[in-house]
């Protein structure tokens, strides 16, 4: 499970895109809860990459359905890096 700090940072990046005002939580999904289209997701991925100074490979994206998934993936990459 990712650190609260990582999750908080991701919330911050998502908030401007949270048009429906969903309560952000680790199990919130990008597609069905936040209803982000693929272009918005692409921008978000770029912002997460820049925030954590990592690369989130395209190959990983289909598996990252929830905020927790992303936070875990980010930490894994940061730790490896």
């Amino acid at each position: 499970m990712a650190k609260a700090e990582t999750i908080e940072k991701i919330y911050e990046l998502i908030e401007p895109l949270n048009k429906k005002g969903i309560d952000l939580a680790p199990d919130v999904t990008f597609a069905s809860d936040l209803e982000l289209d693929s272009l918005t997701v692409m921008d978000l991925v770029a912002e997460i990459e820049d925030e954590f100074d990592i690369v989130l490979p395209l190959n990983l994206l289909p598996e990252l359905e929830t905020i927790a998934h992303v936070a875990d993936a980010v930490e894994k990459i940061v730790d490896k890096g």
């Binding site: 272009l39 490979p57 395209l58 190959n59």
Partner: protein, 400 residues
């Protein structure tokens, strides 16, 4: 449960588009009058959405050679390039393209789509990185899916954004940067020089897809990399015969000394039949004609500039500030106006491509116009005129 249920949303979206008298997804060309005109649904129509940039589809030498090849070699090779599907003409075509690009090696594929699949899937191994532009053509994305590499995407044509990503990749890993010279939907050119220079700074190999620039960009028509004087930074070119060359097929060229090993390792090269001899013979002649086609090239650019200027002056919202290619894309506000506009323009006797998401970037709705070297100035003016009439009829507001 049905396997096709997952497409219900697509089917719904498709059904919701308000076409009444014509539908861009069911256009049938009944008769091809010339490179620039067809009969569609009984109506004589100006073709302005064909990718036939250099107007090679009716090139006389190409047709004569293709007919001769049909007589001499039959309708098809019925086999892979790796087995019975390589004829002397395939080797000659490869030599013709290698000479055209001034490079050592060439592989001919059955389509340009397969050339990208074949190159990217073979080059991108398990521990490698493939770095692509976000607006890449589907064949590049699919090549990436087929590869075992880690795929990294940068913002369209954004050199700085690419560099930030390259910086984060392991220094000693093998990396391939893939870009296009001209992007097919908006017709915008890539900053090829800067992108390739940065790619090289980070030790990447480079692949440039010149599908929509071959024939008319650069002194010899090799594409945008030639026009920007950075061909020495290109490790692999990918191209197609389905646009300027006027037939079907694809290719990759390179100076890499080990290039030929791809003939044994690139699955989209191996596991499909080679292009038929008539296509190959026609392609050879068309490429020769392109080589000597200075006048055509000049007229093509005149057409592109005239169309761009005319539509801009009329107040249409164009996707590029000037004509960067023979593709002039007109931005429409939404799907409703977009579909109506396409339909009305079609009824006025002009065929353009209607481009909608997901083929377009940023969810844009476009009338994608592409001009041909064989369009007359009168036809270009006619296209502009009918665009204006259409705007009025569908109530599209133009900028003053």
């Amino acid at each position: 449960m049905d396997l096709l249920d997952k497409f219900d949303a697509v089917a719904e979206l498709r059904a919701s588009l308000p076409f009444e008298k014509a539908d861009p997804f069911t256009v049938v060309m009944d008769e091809i009058i010339s490179e620039t005109e067809a009969v569609i649904g009984g109506r004589r129509t100006i073709l302005a959405g064909t990718n036939n940039y250099m107007g090679m589809t009716f090139n006389e030498e190409a047709i004569t050679a293709a007919k001769q090849a049909l007589d001499d070699f039959g309708t098809g090779t019925t086999g892979s390039r790796s087995l019975n599907g390589t004829y002397a003409s395939h080797k000659k075509l490869e030599q013709t393209i290698a000479d055209f690009y001034g490079m050592e090696h060439c592989m001919v594929f059955s389509t340009g789509y397969q050339a990208n699949l074949g190159m990217i899937s073979a080059l991108g191994g398990k521990d490698d990185y493939v770095i692509i532009d976000a607006d890449s053509h589907a064949s590049i994305y699919d090549g990436c899916s087929m590869s075992n590499a880690t795929i990294v995407r940068f913002k369209h044509n954004d050199v700085e954004n690419m560099e930030r990503r390259l910086k984060r990749l392991p220094e000693d890993a093998c990396k391939l940067v893939v870009i296009e010279g001209i992007y097919s939907m908006l017709g915008d050119a890539a900053p090829v020089k800067e992108l390739l220079e940065v790619a090289k700074k980070y030790g990447c190999m480079t692949l440039v897809d010149e599908a929509h620039s071959m024939g008319f960009c650069g002194e010899h028509g090799r594409g945008v990399a030639e026009a920007e004087g950075v061909e020495h930074l290109v490790d692999f070119y990918v191209g197609t015969f389905s646009k300027s060359v006027g037939t079907v097929g694809g290719f990759a060229v390179s100076n890499h000394p080990k290039f030929d090993v791809l003939r044994y390792t690139s699955r989209p090269y191996i596991f499909t039949a080679s292009p038929p001899p008539s296509v190959v013979a026609g392609a050879i002649k068309a490429i020769e004609a392109i080589k000597n086609g200075g006048n055509r090239r000049a007229h093509l650019w005149e057409n592109a500039k005239r169309l761009h200027a005319g539509l801009k002056e009329a107040g249409f919202d164009l996707c590029t500030d000037k004509a960067e290619s023979p593709i002039i894309a007109v931005h429409l506000p939404d799907a409703m106006i977009g579909t109506k506009f396409w339909e009305q323009l079609f009824l006025e006797g002009v065929y353009v491509n209607m481009a909608a998401p997901p083929a377009t970037p940023a969810g844009m709705f476009l009338m994608r116009v592409s001009v041909c070297a064989q369009h007359t100035t009168e036809q270009i003016d006619e296209i502009i005129k009918r665009f204006k009439i259409t705007a009025e009829k569908v109530g599209l507001e133009l900028k003053a």
